[in-house]
């Protein structure tokens, strides 16, 4: 299987995202993926914050591009991205941030973006500029493979990863389509809902990952509602990666980079140590 070595069958290029996930799995844990939006609280601080995530044990960075109509995002991320837009966020800042982060740390950076900004920029032009900035690919929350022809072409040509979403409500055919279309990993939506910390991560996540495995996924990462090391540990018992967003954004908003880095270190400990929660060191 080409996917086991992180090599994409059509492009022949290695996905650093997938290789990172495979490495973490082989070490007995799983990948920790951390989300932060560009431009929050400022462009410079958002770059520093992403670098701090990498230094604190986050394996893959998901960098969000602020957008006026983020239908998949809950209140915490909405407030942050709205502030970034009010501060004058422009798309070019996304490339600047990716370049600045990848110049300082050796972790893959995926860009999370709603589709209209890419459509306006041009999918091919965006892909070329993202490659030039050192980005690894895109997570596209409002683009389904059915309407993604332009992005499939641009990502195949450039070797960028393309992460599509899979939901508990998706049919088996749609899960198979998401797995086949994705490269890097498949984003398994833990619960029916939007981003934001939740007390319990739905048991639906485990069922969804099992279903993704049965249609051939070797790289399924779970996101939405994850905020604690315990939740990360619980998810990595069955999934390949855990994605944390709102909790990190809230930490950054509340206490700046030091608070963010402390939470990231705790979460990373959860991703490395898969002993049962009762025997894990308390923080």
């Amino acid at each position: 299987m080409s996917t086991e070595t992180g090599t994409h069958p059509t492009s022949g290029m290695t996905s650093t995202v997938e290789a990172t996930i495979i490495r973490r799995r082989s070490e007995g844990g799983g990948a920790l993926i951390g989300y932060l939006p560009v431009g929050f609280p400022t462009l410079t601080e958002s770059i520093d914050a992403a670098v701090a995530l990498a230094h604190s044990g986050v394996d893959i960075i998901e960098l969000g591009l602020p957008y006026t109509d983020p239908v998949m995002d809950g209140p915490v991320i909405q407030a942050a991205t709205q502030q970034a837009l009010a501060n004058g966020f422009r798309l070019r800042h996304g490339f600047e941030a990716v370049a600045a982060i990848t110049a300082q740390v050796n972790v893959p950076v995926l860009v999370m973006t709603y589709w209209n900004p890419i459509l306006q920029y041009g999918a091919d032009r965006f892909a070329d500029d993202l490659v030039a900035a050192g980005g690894a690919g895109l997570i596209t929350p409002d683009l389904i493979p059915d309407d993604a022809a332009a992005w499939m072409g641009a990502s195949t040509r450039t070797g960028l990863d393309r992460v599509f979403l899979a939901a508990p409500s998706s049919s088996d055919d749609r899960l198979r389509q998401a797995v086949d279309a994705s490269r890097g990993f498949v984003y398994a939506v833990s619960t029916m809902g939007i981003t934001g910390a939740r007390g319990d991560v739905d048991s639906a996540a485990r069922v969804l990952v099992d279903r993704l495995r049965s249609v051939g996924s070797t790289s399924a990462c779970v996101g939405l509602g994850i905020s604690t090391p315990e939740q990360v540990r619980e998810i990595l018992a069955y999934a390949d990666g855990a994605i944390v967003g709102s909790a990190l954004v809230k930490a950054l908003a509340d206490g700046g980079v030091p608070t963010l880095a402390a939470l990231a270190r705790d979460l990373a400990a959860g991703a490395r140590d898969l002993r049962p929660a009762s025997s894990a060191p308390t923080r």
Binding site: V71, A167, S171, M192
Partner: protein, 405 residues
């Protein structure tokens, strides 16, 4: 004519439409698409909807010829399709009754809706009361302030009204929050979308529920005048009343179709909602269509005195009709609309909604262009009761305090 323009059923209308939504919504959209496909073939569904139209809404709505108003439009013959006389005061009831019936078929117990002016919210709350469904209406905080009476109407009807405080706090943000609710509660909840925008199947389905307007009016005008009108006009925000009256005429190439967009302070200014006139293709709320956006693809806030037209997007079928030249879209300013609102009130004793007044204002110009031999059918999509506070302030009609000045 070799092909019909009336058979388009989505997901795409030319290059416009589609589904740009989170994967979590696809199953619900598929379910809605499938259930609607079955329902529209079911004579029992059609019969139940027709009976509601007759005995609840008061359909067919009448047409009214307005010669005293027409005297200001170059003497052209002007005929109004009176959707303002429907129960709840606008065309919005046509759509919600269809979608509420569908909700019942699907077996869901809760409906959500977005609203701008409050007309769709009131209609949704009405249908929910009639069918015994729980109802939550999302409404931008700015709109809850300028349409306070409609908020009270919705609450009286038993709906929960949620003021949306994010983004520009208007219709577009209400749609975002309704979508977020739907993603979270899709197992029990149906989204009763209010216009011919959004992801498939909404543009085609809402149009189908509204096309009764044009089907009635086409025959009514034929009966009255013996021929088809030279032009059919309507205001366009999201575009449901316009698609509703245009659709029956799409295959009558001799009938011009003109949609009037909200020009706000002027389409040449930055404060307008003239989406097709000034926007460019992109994605908003799940469909590819025209929208007002900046260079980076960020949605730009729209402006209109009319809450119901204050929307930076437009339905994909309109974008398609504009792109193939079958319909024309022109801007009408706030001032032109308000002037037409007063003119119809004073010449004919009919107070239109500010939304519909945009169509009347455009028709005044169109009549002068087409001349006295022309007949123009105008969709009077709603009545102006809800707009009395705005009109009172605009025309300085409200008494200050208790004293008559």
């Amino acid at each position: 004519m070799s092909t019909s323009l009336r058979t388009e059923a989505g997901p795409y209308f030319g290059d416009f439409g589609g589904r740009f939504v989170p994967e979590s919504l696809v199953a619900a959209l598929d379910e809605l698409t499938d259930e609607y496909a079955i329902a529209r073939q079911d004579p029992a569904f059609a019969a139940e909807l027709m009976e509601l139209h007759r005995s609840y809404t008061g359909r067919p709505s009448i047409i009214t010829e307005v010669p005293r108003f027409a005297a200001h439009a170059g003497g052209a013959r002007i005929i109004l399709k009176r959707e303002d006389l429907n129960h709840t005061g606008s065309h919005k009831i046509n759509n919600v009754l269809g979608q509420a019936l569908l909700t019942k078929r699907i077996g869901k117990s809760r409906v959500i809706a977005e609203t701008g002016a409050g007309q769709h919210g009131v209609a949704a709350a009405t249908a929910a009361a009639l069918f015994g469904l729980d109802c939550v209406v999302y409404m931008g905080e700015v709109d809850t302030e300028r349409q306070a009476l409609n908020v009270a109407r919705m609450r009286l009807l038993g709906a929960e009204v949620v003021p949306v405080k994010t983004g520009s706090r208007t219709l577009k943000d209400a749609i975002n929050d309704a979508m977020r609710d739907w993603v979270t509660n899709v197992g029990t909840t149906n989204y009763m979308f209010g216009t011919v925008a959004g992801p498939h199947p909404f543009p085609a389905m809402v149009r189908d529920f509204q096309k009764i307007i044009g089907e009635e009016a086409r025959q009514q005008v034929l009966d009255l005048t013996g021929r088809l009108p030279d032009a059919v006009t309507a205001c366009v925000g999201g575009g449901s009343n316009a698609m509703g009256i245009f659709h029956a005429f799409l295959d009558d190439p001799e009938v011009a179709l003109v949609g009037y967009e909200a020009g706000g302070d002027g389409a040449e200014t930055l404060r307008h909602a003239a989406t097709i006139t000034k926007g460019r293709p992109g994605i908003l709320h799940g469909a590819r269509s025209f929208l007002l956006q900046d260079e980076d693809g960020q949605t730009v806030e729209s402006h209109s005195i009319s809450a119901g037209l204050d929307y930076p997007g437009v339905g994909p079928e309109h974008a398609w009709l504009a792109s193939i030249g079958r319909a024309t879209y022109l801007p009408v300013t706030d001032d032109e609309a308000m002037s037409a609102l007063r003119l119809l009130s004073r010449t004919e004793g009919i107070i239109p909604a500010i939304e519909s007044a945009h169509a009347l204002a455009g028709t005044l110009d169109l009549g002068k262009q087409l001349g006295p031999d022309a007949t123009i059918l105008v969709n009077l999509s709603g009545r102006g009761d809800k707009d009395m506070e705005t009109a009172g302030r605009y025309f300085d009609l409200l008494d200050k305090g208790a004293a008559q000045v």
